[in-house]
């Protein structure tokens, strides 16, 4: 899922300064899974905002709403009444959700409550970790299904570097060395000869580095 984290309250308050009617809108997909922007986080954020506004002596109304997804127009349409009521909308969606809302309701002010970070997985309850960078040319088959671009701090394709220590990355003992993981997996799968092969430089043109990307499927257009 897309993993995000709520911004510090002070930063959110600064970005909604001057608002009179704030709609706090969440998303029930990725950001609900990572406890950043689901219904409960909407309620939490709304409570904090109400208290902060009252402390500041500001007369601001706060409403709450949540959408199944903020990245699909059919769901965005459901927020129409609440959006019309508000003068400022604080979205607890990911960066895509905030932008989708703004495109759908182009005359309204949308402000992000989250810092969207990565594509990742729930490792265990309360722990989310990054797995995929969306490079557009997946080569996981050759690396024991451990992505060297995403999980290696230096994006090495012919790793490891000389800083791998005890299975951890030189950057931090909290970060696993991806190449130790790749080595262990390939060893277990009896595919260690893959590590001897030279991997050529990545073609980054399929990644974000090439350009902002769009996929079109004519068979799915109406």
């Amino acid at each position: 899922m897309i993993v995000a984290e709520r911004k510090p309250l002070a930063e959110i308050l600064k970005s909604v300064a001057g608002a009179g009617k704030v709609l706090v809108v969440g998303c029930e997909t990725c950001v609900a899974e990572c406890a950043a922007g689901g219904r409960k986080e909407v309620a939490e954020t709304a409570a904090l905002l109400r208290m902060a506004f009252e402390q500041a002596g500001e007369n601001v109304e706060v409403r709450e709403a949540s959408l199944d997804r903020q990245c699909v127009n059919q769901f965005l349409a459901q927020a129409g009444e609440d959006v019309a009521w508000a003068d400022t909308i604080l979205s607890l969606g990911c960066g895509a959700g905030v932008q989708a809302l703004a495109r759908f309701y182009p005359d309204k002010v949308f402000v992000p409550a989250l810092n969207t970070q990565f594509i990742g997985t729930t490792v265990e309850a309360g722990v989310w970790a990054e797995d995929c960078s969306g490079c557009g040319d997946c080569q996981l088959a050759y690396f024991g299904a451990v992505c060297p671009l995403t999980r290696c701090s230096k994006r090495l394709l012919n790793g490891p570097c000389g800083g791998s220590r005890g299975g951890k990355c030189e950057v931090s003992p909290d970060v696993d060395c991806a190449w130790q993981l790749i080595y262990d997996r390939l060893a277990a799968l009896n595919q260690l000869d893959r590590l001897r092969a030279y991997v050529a430089p990545k073609d980054w043109s399929t990644s974000h580095s090439g350009r902002p990307r769009t996929i079109i499927r004519e068979d799915r257009r109406v």
């Binding site: 208290m51 506004f53 009252e54």
Partner: protein, 144 residues
């Protein structure tokens, strides 16, 4: 609601017999400004609920859980402890004392005196003073 700076919300696991008895004794048995209600498990408490209490005007929130190892839902009480702590941290982002959220595990094998526990907490909250928040306009949430 009186505004003496000691509006406290008390939530307890309904397994706590002494607290249930206090509840059954009716509102007259409680000191003023105490909102007492049971939960099927302390683990039912979530941070957004705790924060909503404060947004609506509470000056303190007390959560009374069963002793560690005695939760009928295995770990509900342990999770509640973490959530209470999280909610308290959020209060400090507003400049409010995290001590306004008190989480208690009941002591195993001893009889509780709920009035003593509640009054003790009320005293602490009174010393902290009112939060200055009354709930304002649009309080309470109208989630769809």
């Amino acid at each position: 609601m009186s505004r003496l700076g000691e509006q406290i919300v008390v939530r307890f696991c309904h397994n706590q017999t002494e607290f249930m008895n206090l509840l059954k004794a009716g509102p007259a048995a409680l000191p003023s400004g105490v909102d007492l209600a049971p939960l099927p498990c302390s683990g039912k408490v979530e941070p957004h609920q705790i924060l909503s209490f404060f947004a609506a005007g509470a000056d303190g929130a007390l959560i009374q859980a069963c002793p560690p190892g005695a939760c009928r839902f295995v770990e509900g009480n342990l999770r509640a402890a973490k959530r209470a702590s999280y909610a308290a941290e959020r209060l400090s982002e507003l400049g409010l004392s995290p001590a306004r959220v008190r989480f208690r595990f009941a002591e195993a094998g001893s009889t509780l005196d709920p009035m003593e526990i509640i009054n003790d907490f009320k005293e602490n909250v009174r010393a902290l003073g009112p939060t200055g928040l009354t709930g304002g306009r649009g309080g309470g949430g109208n989630e769809r």
